[in-house]
Symmetry: C2
Subunit: 522 residues, 2 copies
């Protein structure tokens, strides 16, 4: 009989991750995680990507997992390190992205002394995780890690946070790496599909098929339009989506507009909505005298996707039911967008982006106000994948672009980021440079919180005074994004007209590694 070999808890954690094909760890370690760093160092096949702020780490894990469809691991330093990563974990949670956080803690015996970095990690983790667990001994590490991995799985994916005390990491154990069970994938129920199909037929043009989650992959979109052709229904998607295939002649899925009045108008004629992986449309924020729910009160709601069912299989089943022929993926021929010239306008920016976008690019959209007019024109690009912010917490764009570039080194990443958002996780630039990420970051520099100025008008408070203006403008001082990018090791340029933007985009795509373009709005 073989003598059981001794490993540290940290080694077992890393080997359990690798056994589950989790081979990338976005990390910001500290002293309490140093034995995990040592274990990663010893493990062949585990890639560690350093972020100099934890919001970069969790955002990158989100971007990575949206594309690889397997969880990324993060490594975070105690409660404050986790806290710094929570905003982008919130976005990942709302996007249904599987993320596994490993958070180091003080050694179990040390916790009673309330050392400076001690805090209530469990409460912090619980607020943004579907699963929280602790490995209180080295022997428990492998099984708890496997439980955490299993907890990330499902449709949609989940956030799991494993808290690892330092003595569980450095302590020795004879246990073996654990294998995690895969989550059960449910088939769509025939009754759900038949009910949805019958409703679409009955309500015809007053029915809306609302696609969300994995129903926004190319094949599902094609199937949805086949159903629309057969039943007369409309097809749409929420305003933001975790991952959506677009361009290359794929039918264009209209989005529900962000402003409440526009959304109400968009949905005013809908008597029946079939939810295909999307939630019932609600307002992003509440406003005095405006409704929270955006569909009419009379509207019938049909959920086509039960919990645990993949919207892709539900969409395929609905297409077979409504349109047994004709739901194959067809791409329409499309007219290329010509290169623009002249001043930077919403239209010329959109044309520059659509004209230059490489085939199979990954576009991360945190353009906020600047991006709304870009959406339609971009559909005339070649095929691309669009990643949207599902949680609304800003500081999303550049970290997610980092993770997407790590996941897909052969595809170009384009991150479109408003300047009001870019500040929040600007440290991502350093990691983009360190990883030679093939990412182009476009900063829309309007030197305003333009979104908040719109919201200010909604308050009806009238013209803003100095204190309010000071909280709604970013022009004193004006950030110089070219300097900021170069300071972080990323080559950058500033453009002031549409031709220059077009050329700068093309140059960035022709080179490898990251590049930042500051689009200086009037």
């Amino acid at each position: 009989m073989e003598t059981p070999s001794l490993s540290t808890g940290a080694d077992l954690l890393v080997r359990t991750l690798l056994a589950a094909d989790i081979d990338t760890c976005f990390a910001n370690p500290g002293t309490s995680e140093m034995h995990l760093v040592a274990a990663i160092d010893r493990a062949p096949g585990m890639r560690a990507v350093l972020g100099l702020f934890e919001g970069v780490v969790t955002g990158a894990a989100d971007g990575y997992a949206r594309l690889t469809e397997k969880p990324a691991a993060t490594l975070l330093h105690l409660g404050p390190g986790l806290a710094n990563g929570l905003a982008n974990l919130h976005n990942a949670r709302k996007a249904g992205t599987p993320v596994l956080n490993v958070v180091g803690d003080h050694a179990v015996r040390h916790l009673q002394y309330d050392a400076p970095l001690a805090s209530d990690i469990d409460s912090l983790a619980g607020a943004m995780s579907h699963w929280v667990g602790r490995a209180q001994t080295p022997d428990a590490v492998a099984t708890r890690t496997a439980e955490a991995i299993a907890a990330t799985q499902g449709t949609p994916g989940h956030i799991a946070t494993l808290i690892l005390p330092a003595d569980s990491a450095w302590g020795l154990t004879t246990t073996s790496p654990a294998l995690c069970r895969n989550a059960e994938v449910k088939e769509p129920a025939a009754i759900d599909i038949e009910t949805a199909g019958a409703a679409l037929r009955k309500y015809g043009s007053r029915a809306l098929l609302l696609l969300g989650g994995k129903a926004l992959r190319a094949r599902s979109i094609a199937e949805a339009f086949a159903v629309a052709e057969a039943s007369g229904c409309r097809v749409a998607a929420p305003g933001s989506n975790a991952r959506m295939e677009r361009g290359g002649g794929l039918p264009e899925v209209p989005r529900i507009p962000y402003p409440v009045d526009a959304a109400l108008a968009f949905l005013a004629e809908v008597d029946c909505i079939v939810l295909m992986g999307a939630p019932t449309p609600v307002a992003f924020f509440a406003y005095p005298d405006k409704p929270s729910v955006l569909i009419p009160e009379r509207c019938r709601v049909v959920k086509a996707v039960a919990p645990g069912v993949d919207p892709q299989t539900a969409m395929a089943a609905l297409a077979s039911f409504c349109a047994p022929r004709g739901q194959q993926l067809r791409r329409a021929p499309q007219e290329a967008v010509i290169a623009p010239s002249g001043p930077l306008t919403a239209d010329s920016i959109a044309q520059a982006l659509a004209h230059t976008l490489p085939e199979n690019a990954i576009v991360v959209d945190e353009s906020v106000t600047s991006g709304r007019s870009i959406y339609a024109t971009m559909s005339r690009s070649g095929p691309f994948t669009l990643l949207g912010n599902m949680g609304g917490s800003i500081g999303f764009g550049m970290p997610v672009a980092l993770g997407a570039a790590v996941a897909c080194p052969d595809r170009r990443v384009l991150a479109m980021v408003g300047d009001g958002s870019a500040f929040y996780t600007e440290q991502a630039l350093w990691s983009l440079a360190r990883e030679s990420a093939n990412a182009t970051v476009v900063i829309f520099a309007n030197h305003n919180y333009a979104i908040l100025q719109g919201e200010w008008r909604n308050t009806g408070a009238g013209p803003s005074g100095k204190a309010a203006r000071d909280m709604l403008t970013l022009d004193r001082p004006r950030a110089d994004w070219v300097s900021i990018a170069r300071g972080h090791g990323v080559e950058a340029e500033r453009v002031v007209d549409a031709a220059a933007l077009t050329q700068a985009l093309a140059r960035s795509y022709a080179s490898s590694g990251p590049r930042l373009i500051e689009v200086l709005m009037a």
Copy 2:
């Protein structure tokens, strides 16, 4: 009888703050806080300071309150906005700083729909706050605000978080601003002082009087040394302190060293420790085969300060007991530090800092490994106030410097920040420029996580491989802090020798507004 006037909940909140002399609000508002922005705009006397990341906001509130000794208010946007501010709230909590957070939430009726930005704000707040409350109606806002203000008070101060749903902010009420009751300040108990005094006399040179919290103000330090002269005891302070008066001939208080072995040696001869506002010394982190508690097992522990007692009054009482004469504040004549020349070394950097430091400067210390040798030399400066990081969460220095500069516009602020820390809240540079803060930021650019390299050696894992090196070095790419500063609107220069550092410091102190100096270590 007067007709009751109608105000919004937001107006009442602001007027209740002003009635309690809280007139500064560090803010990062979003849509759900727009009515609070409008109320601040309407209120004469409320200053709002915008931070482009919430860690800047909470860190600035910490620095501000440490100097003004009254709470700063923060304004944060829902759960993710609060989450971004939690790491520096953790530091403020550990420092005993009073901070009042106002966190906007969705309107009460909107919460049920799980809109994108909805999250468990109460759990997030609870992890880092002593008090959490909600104002669920406009009528409740004034009294809940007064309760929150009262909850920040005490010795030490507390963190209070008031969650304000948007409809409580925009809704109308006839209530009036509420007045908050001041916390009761307890006098030191005679028995505590007599026990401490008797112990110091009994143990003599084997007794240690450990000063913490407000016992590190100038008068208390003088009193402590009078007690030491009378009893023969030693005087010391923890390694980090929220606020400590130093320089200008004030007796020098030795600190307990950070490395565990050095701390054990420092405390090896201590048979009795009198805690004057400081906690029992414990290790920052636990290590295999090293103790958590740093005093010898035999050591008697005497707490001279009961909960709710100000260490300053306890120290004064102890001095009256042990040394009824001679505890007045005396400053020894001191030899000025001469200007250094030659290469940048630990000594020459310390000399440059001590030689140039303006009288009554506020020094924020986040220099981590680079700063340890600076401490002793700085005592030969003129009088200054030192603010230390009590929670150990990095990204502390520049935000706290911002708050200190807002609190004390007539004093110069010097922030000493390691490059590994500076990244975490680099957005503070933008607010320093916006507020024309009289702050000099010195970045020690060693392009390493030097602290973590020391911790790596402590693991005993031997030489690091590529994966570990990648997580412990910051040199690929090398950050250019001059570019980063200029990108945020702060003038900056890089120095490579001691004379240049001395001149750059002097230049920064001679000008108004912020300035960054990158100290390029070998």
